[in-house]
Symmetry: C2
DNA sequence: CTCTAACAGGACATATTTATCCTCTATTAC
DNA sequence: GTAATAGAGGATAAATATGTCCTGTTAGAG
């Protein structure tokens, strides 16, 4: 539903939000999120272009969030690597069919809209505040 | 978000729901839904295997819905060609992480669940009842 | 200045999705 | 039976998404 790339981007920013003290290198993030380092670099580049994270080259460089997690909606991260495809016109391309959607496509677009809204009102801060254990992204089972 | 294939499948079943009188050939459906005939055949095969439509070979054959549109939830069509991917376990594959999801993945799965529910309670009948014009899938603009 | 750490970006490889084409089989009409 | 219609299914191609690798550039430390 959401692409792998989107999933990776979200893991990465969550990791950054959980480790704001010092910049995290691509390797750091790749290890923590279990994403291949090479591909993660590409994803991080997208996030940099989207102004979600800032990069710093050289020794002690790495990536950090460009804003406070509470200022970053999850949707913004998603849009950065692969936006939710909204249906704004009839996808059949029939001449004479324009902005008015049939019930099928209106329904589908409603679902997309609901997702957009849900992710638009959730911030990164909300994703990190409740977990305090050592695992970066998933909680472990209580013994 | 939903795949092209899913979109095509939905268009096809909507067309069938709107034309219940006689079986629709793959060509009929392909024309009406603006999908390439070859690929549509594949999609229809999936729908047949999923018991959503029934096929009839030979002259005057074609496809028709296997049940009344009011008995077919949109979700069933979706699941037939490419289910909504639910997140049931930590996707990072870290040993010791099991069923309990971190907040990121719980959020993502919540969104998937919401979509499933939305499409699970909408039937094909609801998608066709309100449009009565000649256009098969999209309404045209009022002059 | 030189060495090393670390991101940027291009070229390439693989996998998956989408699309095309051709042959086979089933059904109907005659 | 023969001919025509129409779905089933396999092989193949094209497009896109995902993943790898290598070189270049920037920054910091000595």
């Amino acid at each position: 539903m959401l692409s792998q790339t989107t999933e990776y981007a979200l893991r990465a920013v969550v990791h950054l939000a959980k480790n704001p003290e010092q910049p995290q290198t691509a390797i750091d993030i790749a290890d923590a999120t279990r994403v291949s380092p090479g591909y993660l670099s590409k994803v991080m580049q997208s996030l940099v272009r989207g102004k979600i994270v800032r990069s710093q080259r050289g020794l002690h460089g790495g990536f950090r969030l460009s804003r406070d997690p509470s200022e970053i909606p999850v949707l913004e991260v998603i849009n950065c690597v692969g936006p939710i495809p909204r249906i704004t016109r009839c996808p059949l391309g029939i001449p004479g069919h324009g902005e008015k959607l049939c019930s099928l496509h209106r329904r589908l677009d409603d679902a997309m809209l609901a997702i957009e809204r849900s992710f638009g009102t959730t911030t990164l801060a909300e994703l990190v505040e409740q977990s305090d254990d050592s695992f970066p992204l998933c909680e472990h089972i209580q013994p």
